[in-house]
Subunit: 332 residues, 2 copies
DNA sequence: TTGTATGCGTTATCAA
DNA sequence: TTGATAACGCATACAA
């Protein structure tokens, strides 16, 4: 297996503490000793056991990141932001994907706590679930930051203004002359979905428009659900003139269905998504969300809390979303 | 901070070993003691310190995964495959993205070794680099599996038949009547890119076709590079009739450039990519690569080696790639 | 059925 | 300048 400090001590004929001291660049060792230790370490490929080190030093140089779905570009970008900041600090990231399952989220969070990560970043399910596992985190004084506000808890978090993003989108459609607008919601446990839907309904109401329940499609999870929605729309007699999708991935599914059926967007349906993902050739009007920045921000806030002993104010940051107009919406 | 077994022993008035025994479900404790321990553990939110446990038990229940780029769907799928299998075994995954930088790859691999992961899965740079860090892994008898064969090393690996995939693609274009075919290579350190390019050139030669150096574009990394290639093609007088891109992301860039210029694919250029990514609305002919299966396979092979004491044969698996014909190639 | 002692690999404290 | 020893939190072997 791996060579240890004790092995090195035996090899060099020095004491463990001496070897340790040299390896950690402490002052007060002769050049001769220093060289002897370094040479032996190099020769035998010594790699310090971080896990034993973590036992004493109180820092494991590891943070945990719990997201919902690693294959979604949204969480991809957040992950990259977190990773980049973590690497700057010489930290490694435990990545877990909950698959939008509360039980899994709790289990994975506990696994990270068991591994004594120095801190945690969590993108938790936010609707229709309990938050005991997160309250517990605060009780244990484990540094953490969340994507989205946790009800009943004062903690560091970063959130997106999904309500406002949705209001922009809806107004945009109305200004383009749309009156019959449909909506595809995301997971029931997603607050983003809830707020986008609410912003949509509120704006319709303010503008004096009505929403037909038949034009609302619920709980789309994957691209395939988007395809399904698209096909149902194609078969529908009283089709809406425009559709807002919970995210770009769902919108992609709708696009695929329409293209397969030989229909056109925006000719036969105007379409808007959320996330403004880069991997999109279709000129989809969408809402840009600063996911990468959010990831970096979450990590920065977390590291501040890990390193600063003084319990400063909790950071609670709302990032705005920005409508990006392309050509998937027709003027009526 | 976190509560320990010693704390629990003090609270219950029992010995550490008793508490430990009950917590680990060992037989031979009275119901009364058992209940007392469990209750106290529950009440104080005891989570075993896996890192201390790992010091004795020789298993950290952690594996490391080093990939090249987390935002690329290719590595996304591999990561998901690895994660799924790891979770089945109750393992957590350290995820590192090397950003296609050899120094970073070495550093991150060493960090994982330092954290004493039970095993490693690596998607290393395979061309124009040294493999000392991987040889070292074998010398230390740390279980690992790689994506792609490591020169000069007998180890577990899974690879894709990129050469054959490229031959399929090239033949497809030739059968559709294309004679002037361009190619966009990926990173210089990518063996997949090298083999795809080689398969392409060999097939051209066999079919008696020639390759113009002006139609080869080198080292495309991101979507933006694809856009760049697209724009250069648009400005080119003697444009190839077809273009093979290292991967779908690059192809997306080319598509974006052509659409922005009001040109059509396949009208003005036939296009083929690799990876067959799901998040694609454009009907791009591409090569399907079983990335998710490869991730699962790599993890399965790794766990076999972690758990089996007997040094069995090394597994060396080549997965084939499959051309998926859509409508981005014009019949000439 | 429960308690004591020891070791895992490292760092820190103190003594030599 | 170097060495011996304790401590971190847990598991295990052994003793009571």
């Amino acid at each position: 297996m791996n060579i240890t400090i004790a092995d090195l001590a035996r090899i060099t004929g020095l004491a463990k503490s001496t070897v340790s001291g040299v390896l950690n660049n402490k002052a007060g060792f002769s050049e001769k000793t220093r060289a002897k230790v370094l040479e032996a370490a190099e020769k035998h490929g010594y790699v310090p056991n971080e896990i034993a080190r973590g036992l004493t030093s109180k820092f494991t140089k590891t943070i945990g990141l719990v997201i919902k779905d690693i294959t979604n570009p949204f969480y991809n970008r957040i992950t990259k932001g977190v990773q980049d900041v973590a690497n700057e600090h010489g930290y490694t990231v435990f990545l877990c994907s909950s698959g939008e399952n509360h039980m899994v989220e709790v289990a994975q969070m506990n696994a990270m706590v068991g591994k004594r990560v120095d801190g945690l970043i969590i993108a938790p399910l936010l609707e229709g679930v309990t938050f005991d596992h997160i309250y517990e985190l605060k009780r244990k004084e484990i540094p953490f930051a969340t994507l989205g506000e946790i009800p009943g808890l004062t903690c560091d978090y970063v959130e997106f203004d999904d309500y406002q993003g949705s209001v922009q989108v809806t107004n945009h459609l109305i200004e383009y002359g749309h009156a019959k607008i449909g909506f595809v919601t995301g997971q029931r446990t997603s607050r983003a979905s809830k707020q986008r839907f609410q912003g949509f309904k509120d704006t319709l109401f303010e503008r004096g428009l009505t929403l037909s329940e038949r034009h609302v499609f619920h709980e789309a999870k994957h691209l395939a659900d988007g395809v399904d929605v698209g096909n149902r729309l194609i078969a529908m007699e009283d089709r809406p003139t425009a559709l807002i999708c919970f995210d770009d991935v769902i919108a992609m599914g709708v696009i695929k269905a329409f293209e397969a059926a030989g229909l056109s967007i925006p000719g036969d349906l105007s379409l808007i998504g959320f996330d403004d993902i880069e991997l999109m050739t279709f000129p989809l009007t969408s809402v840009s969300i600063p996911t990468y920045e959010a990831g970096k921000l979450l990590a920065k806030i977390l590291f501040e809390r890990i390193f600063e002993e003084n319990v400063s104010e909790y950071k609670q940051i709302t990032l705005s979303e920005q409508l990006v107009v392309r050509s998937s919406v027709k003027r009526m």
